[in-house]
Each structure stands twice: as structure tokens, then as C-alpha cells.
């Protein structure tokens, strides 16, 4: 068998085998997606851009406490509200800001939110929130969190302002948060 060993060492069969592999890949289907024209489809649980609904938010600060890097700033005050004749004190949200510039999209705020369905959610499928200037454009206050100006929603996903509420008509649109088990 020494002869075959010598022959194999002289004639590079295994190099040809390697060339065969790359040769076959030459004809295989390509994996490239032309990004701007063809957008990759995020999955349902994709933790993308924030969604926020002020009606459902009870200003309990649970999300601000749960956030590992404390970038949710909430201020609220009490107001007297007449509910069926009884005087009730109700919390009103003044300020609900998220410093998205430093956010790591870990989703702990969405998990901590006690309301059903959640008032702050990340599972909107939009990921195009790039900005030229980070301090201003990426600091989302209550209004922008709902109107999403400056964020291009993923086609088919309603922005919070367009009523992306789970009980919006036609059940939960693809982008809204289905209630967590």
C-alpha cells in the first residue's frame, strides 16, 4: 500500500475533492436578499420597535423598575375623577419617555407590564429606526411612542396611532402583542 500512499501524496486527489465542493456550490441557489426592495420577514415574537398605548397604561412604574438600564422615565400625578357618582383619584400620565438610544431591546418591560393586553410592547415587527442624530431623534416621548414619526413601520404593521390595539378590528394584527401566557 506504500505505492498508493506515495501516489496520493503526489497527485492532490483531496484538493480536487475540495474543488468539487466549491464547484457544486457554484450552481446552488443563492441566499442573498436584495434588502431595500425585498424586506426580510421578522417573526411574530420579534422584539422590534416600541409600541405604547396611553389608555391602557396605569402608570404603575413596573416597566421602569424592571428595565435593567433604567431608561424609562415616567412622571404622573393624581386627579379627581367622577366615576358613577363616587369621587375617585386617578393617576394621569404626564411624561412617559424611553431613551431608545441606549435600549437593548431585552423585552423585560413588556414582561413586567401588569395590564392585559400590555400597554408597552416590543413585538412590533418594525426595525427601521435609524436616525442621523441620536440624542434628539432616538429619545421617544409619549406622543412619538404612539405616532411613530421617524420610524418606518414594517409593511402591514399598524403603528400604535393607527389603533394597533389587540382588540383593533380583525383581532390582533400581526405586529401587536398577543397576551403572554
Amino acid at each position: 500500500m506504500r505505492f498508493w500512499g506515495f501516489l496520493a501524496s503526489v497527485i492532490p486527489f483531496e484538493l480536487a475533492q475540495g474543488l468539487g465542493v466549491t464547484g457544486r456550490f457554484f450552481f446552488k441557489r443563492k441566499a442573498t436578499i436584495q434588502y431595500p426592495e425585498v424586506k426580510p420577514v421578522p417573526k411574530d415574537r420579534f422584539r422590534g420597535m416600541f409600541g405604547f398605548s396611553e389608555e391602557r397604561c396605569i402608570a404603575c412604574h413596573a416597566c421602569a423598575k424592571a428595565c435593567p438600564i433604567a431608561i424609562i422615565h415616567i412622571q404622573d400625578h393624581f386627579e379627581e375623577v367622577e366615576v358613577e357618582g363616587k369621587k375617585r383619584k386617578k393617576k394621569v400620565l404626564d411624561r412617559y419617555d424611553i431613551d431608545v438610544k441606549r435600549c437593548m431591546f431585552c423585552g423585560l418591560c413588556e414582561e413586567a407590564c401588569p395590564t392585559k393586553p400590555v400597554a408597552i410592547w416590543l413585538t412590533s415587527k418594525s426595525y427601521e429606526a435609524a436616525a442621523y442624530e441620536r440624542n434628539e431623534r432616538l429619545y421617544f416621548d409619549k406622543g412619538r411612542l404612539q405616532s411613530w414619526d421617524g420610524v418606518r413601520p414594517y409593511p402591514g404593521v399598524l403603528t400604535p396611532a393607527q389603533g394597533q390595539l389587540p382588540e383593533a378590528p380583525g383581532g390582533a394584527p400581526a405586529g401587536s402583542a398577543e397576551p403572554k401566557p
Partner: protein, 351 residues
């Protein structure tokens, strides 16, 4: 227009312009061809944004390099730094003057030869000129006053010198068979004997091509510009047009090696098995294929193999590369030279 002025000045000038234009365009589109083929081997697509299906990518690259700022390191040797790329490009383009792209043919009464000159010491000229390219690499590496590029320069000097020898020896085996140094006569010798020299001199062909890959610093021998080790080897400090020259020279050298291999081993512009299938090639269906097409087809095949190598093989370490060159290629090519010499002596070869 007096005849000598025409034959010694105007026609060569026209040919020079044509050949230079073709070569530079070919080298530019080589980069596009390489990026596309490499991409297809790596399940991706390659440039397809600039122009239809990416056709204008090389033009865009050239323009970019043209207008890019040409940074010269402060403590570089200005003159030698400038000379580096020149010394690499000029030999690469000079070699094309001798390569026969096709046989002489008649156009409106004039005999037109699709090559610049038919120097009767063609092979010697090519080997001599292409070894000047080494200076460009070494001087470029040393002059840019950067540790990495100096190492890159030294490495490529040792590599090019030690692979020049086996390449020369394998070319000599072809000379034995063709009994002439001029490239045109070699192709005609292959036509007369009806067999391409790749069949009798297969070992020489294999060694020639592998050494060709080493001469042009291509994978698996791309030590001098091994990105992972020396950042970018000898052309780390070059940018703008000077970098474009190194780029152009590398691709031009690839085309040179491929075309010489075509001429020496695959019978230049001859269709496969020129004599045995002469009837087939002369038949009306295939008669219209110009000889130049055969030449370009074979050269393209070689270039594809170059890129195929780049997509597949890892890189040799420097000492292994030298060991392979000296301990394997040189002895084998010497033994092969003797064998072919003996063969030619016995069989008698073309007179």
C-alpha cells in the same frame, strides 16, 4: 504614406493602442469576473447594483481609485515609493507585445498579424521581463516604511525568486518539443505535430500553472498580501491610483500567465485536435469560429481555475511554501526536463 513609415510606425502604434486598451479593460473586468465567480461559489450574488447586473462595477472602481486621495506616508522614501507600482505595471503590460492572439490573416490585401511582434526569442523575453516585477513589490514594501509591508515585500521576493526556477524549467521542456523560442513558431509546431503539448508534457504543464499561481501571489500562495497576517502585505500603505496600479498589475499578470500557458501547452489559437478533427473544424457549421475565439476561450478557462483556487484552498505558511518550491517543484521539473529531452531525442520531434 511611405510603406516603411506605415509598417514600422503607424501599424505598430495602432496595435499597441488596441492591445493596451484590450488588456486594461480585460484586467478591469477580471476583477468583476473574479468577484462574480467567487460570489457564486459562496452562495451569494456579487456586485449587481452598478449598471445592469453590475457590469459597470469595474468602471466605478477605477473612477473611485482615480479620485481617491493618494496618501503618502510621511517618512516614506518618496521616489522609491512612487517607483514601486510603476515597476510592477510596466513589465506586466510589456509582456503582451509578444503574445500571439491568432494567426496572420489578410484584410483588404494587407497581411495583418494579430500580435505586435514575433520576436524569435519570445520565451526568453517574457521570462526576463516578468522577473522585473519582483523589484516593484520589494521596493514598494520597503519604501512605505511600515513593518507589515516590509515583511510582505521580503516574503514575496523570496517567493517569486524561488518559483521562477521551476517555471523556467517547465517552459524549457516545451522549447525542446517545439524546437523554437518564438511563440508563433511554437503554436505552428503544435499545429504541424497535430498534438497539443499539454499531453506529452503534462507534468510540465501542471508545474508551470502552479508556479504561475505562485508568481502572481495568488491563493494558495498569497503570502505577501495575506490579509490575516500582514494586514495587506506590501501594498498596505498605498491608496488611490498607486493602489490601482498594483491591482491592475496583479490581474494583468494573471492574464499573462494564462495566455502563455495557452500558447505553450494548449496550442494558442488552434482548435482542439487540430489535425485529427480538421474536417470537423472546416465544416460550414464551425468554420466561422475565428481562431482568436479559441485563444480567449482557453484563457478564460485558466482564469476560472485561478478563481476556483482562491475560493477553495487555505494558504501555505511561508516556510512550507519555500519547502514546496525547492524540495518538490524544482527536482520534479528537472527530472521531467530530462525525460522529455530523452523522449524528443528518441521520437525525433519536428525538424
Amino acid at each position: 504614406m511611405p510603406a516603411p513609415l506605415m509598417t514600422y510606425l503607424v501599424i505598430p502604434l495602432v496595435k499597441i493602442v488596441v492591445i493596451l486598451a484590450v488588456v486594461i479593460l480585460l484586467a478591469a473586468y477580471m476583477s468583476y469576473f473574479e468577484r462574480k465567480v467567487l460570489a457564486y461559489m459562496q452562495i451569494r450574488i456579487g456586485p449587481n447594483r452598478v449598471g445592469p447586473r453590475g457590469w459597470l462595477q469595474p468602471i466605478a472602481d477605477a473612477l473611485k481609485l482615480l479620485v481617491k486621495e493618494d496618501i503618502v506616508p510621511s517618512r516614506a522614501e518618496k521616489l522609491v515609493y512612487f517607483l514601486g507600482p510603476v515597476l510592477v505595471v510596466v513589465p506586466a503590460l510589456l509582456v503582451f507585445s509578444v503574445i500571439p492572439f491568432g494567426p496572420a490573416f489578410k484584410v483588404a490585401g494587407h497581411v495583418v498579424t494579430p500580435y505586435l511582434t514575433d520576436v524569435n526569442i519570445g520565451i526568453l523575453f517574457i521570462l526576463a521581463v516578468s522577473s522585473i516585477g519582483v523589484y516593484g513589490v520589494i521596493l514598494g514594501g520597503w519604501a512605505s516604511n511600515n513593518k507589515y509591508s516590509m515583511m510582505g515585500g521580503l516574503r514575496s521576493a523570496a517567493q517569486l525568486v524561488s518559483y521562477e526556477v521551476p517555471m523556467g524549467l517547465s517552459v524549457v521542456t516545451v522549447l525542446l518539443m517545439a524546437n523554437s523560442l518564438s511563440l508563433v513558431k511554437i503554436v505552428e509546431a503544435q499545429q504541424r505535430s497535430g498534438v497539443w503539448y499539454v499531453f506529452p508534457g503534462f507534468i510540465a504543464f501542471f508545474i508551470y500553472f502552479v508556479c504561475g499561481v505562485a508568481e502572481t501571489n495568488r491563493n494558495p500562495f498569497d503570502l505577501p498580501e495575506a490579509e490575516s497576517e500582514l494586514v495587506a502585505g506590501f501594498h498596505t500603505e498605498y491608496s488611490g491610483m498607486k493602489f490601482a496600479f498594483y491591482f491592475l498589475a496583479e490581474y494583468a499578470n494573471m492574464v499573462v500567465i494564462s495566455s502563455i500557458a495557452t500558447v505553450l501547452f494548449l496550442g494558442g489559437w488552434l482548435p482542439p485536435f487540430p489535425n485529427a478533427l480538421a474536417a470537423l473544424w472546416a465544416s460550414p457549421a464551425l468554420a466561422w469560429i475565428p481562431p482568436v475565439a479559441w485563444f480567449v476561450l482557453k484563457m478564460a478557462a485558466f482564469l476560472f481555475v485561478y478563481i476556483w483556487f482562491r475560493g477553495t484552498f487555505p494558504r501555505y505558511r511561508f516556510d512550507q511554501l519555500m519547502a514546496l518550491g525547492w524540495k518538490v517543484f524544482i527536482p520534479v521539473s528537472l527530472v521531467n526536463l530530462m525525460a522529455v529531452g530523452l523522449g524528443v531525442l528518441l521520437i525525433g520531434g519536428p525538424r
